[in-house]
Amino acid sequence: MLNGIPINFYIMLSAVLFIIGVVGVMARRNAIIIFMCIELMLNAVNLLLVAFSTLHNDASGQVFVFFIMAVAAAEVAVGLAILSMVYRNFKTIDIDLLSRLKN
């Protein structure tokens, strides 16, 4: 216990960050903020993957985080393109108003 940090602390930190993201998705109406909260959840999971990969001295976890970053970048590019298209057509990105998927 002298030099290190218990893995439980990392699990707690990741759980707290993930749940802040979940609350953000549920409590906000702006679609861009919801996107950002999803990014926050992805990062909480990434942090836990890196912590466990360091714990077990296995590089696969960190490679997984690298791939998650690539997929998140692709997801954000497509998602923001869709959102800007929605804003151009409906002049709003309030998800409560967009929930019916029709005009």
Binding site: I20, I33, N43, S60, M69, A74
Partner: protein
């Protein structure tokens, strides 16, 4: 210092800052401030990566997330001219319910970890796998095929984003 090492102090400070900034992301009304707080959260997470000696991922995290993705978010928000006045708000009951659900979820996770083993330690600075050399070796030998697939995925996302974002959507297929 009070029986804790520098690593443990840094872990505590970075965790506190990360959680505070993450809370500010959710509770700030202005979307631009929200993005800036999320950038600060990402810097704290990059600090955690450095603490775990995952140097390559820390740099990639700052470059990709704080540098590219967040600038994209900021760009779109400023393009739509969103600010605190135009920000739609959920009903107070919905927000209270969201908070309660989050609290219960946290309670479940903490409760599930109650009986977990306490002795496992993440050694700060002892591990060498996070360095560019070792990670590159694994990435280009064991994970070469997924790496190539990721490049195709990024190309598809690039083409898709351009197709969706084009102003003229009446594409003539004939």
């Amino acid at each position: 210092m009070l029986g804790y090492t520098i690593t443990q102090w840094l872990f505590g400070i970075l965790s506190f800052l990360a959680i505070m900034f993450a809370l500010m992301v959710v509770f700030t009304r202005n979307p631009v401030n929200s993005v800036l707080y999320l950038v600060l959260t990402f810097f704290c997470i990059a600090g955690h990566y450095l603490l775990l000696n995952a140097q390559f991922l820390a740099v990639v995290h700052i470059v990709v997330y704080a540098g590219a993705i967040m600038v994209l978010f900021l760009f779109i928000i400023m393009l739509m001219n969103l600010n605190a006045d135009t920000e739609p708000r959920k009903h107070i009951v919905t927000r209270v319910i969201a908070g309660v659900v989050g609290g219960v979820l946290l309670f479940v996770v903490v409760g599930a970890l109650k009986g977990a083993e306490q002795l496992q330690i993440v050694q700060g600075g002892a591990s060498q796998i996070g360095l560019v050399k070792n990670l590159g070796k694994v990435l280009f030998s064991e994970f070469l095929f997924p790496f190539e697939i990721a490049s195709i995925l990024l190309l598809a996302a690039l083409v898709g984003a351009i197709m969706i974002g084009k102003r003229d959507t009446n594409i003539n297929l004939k």
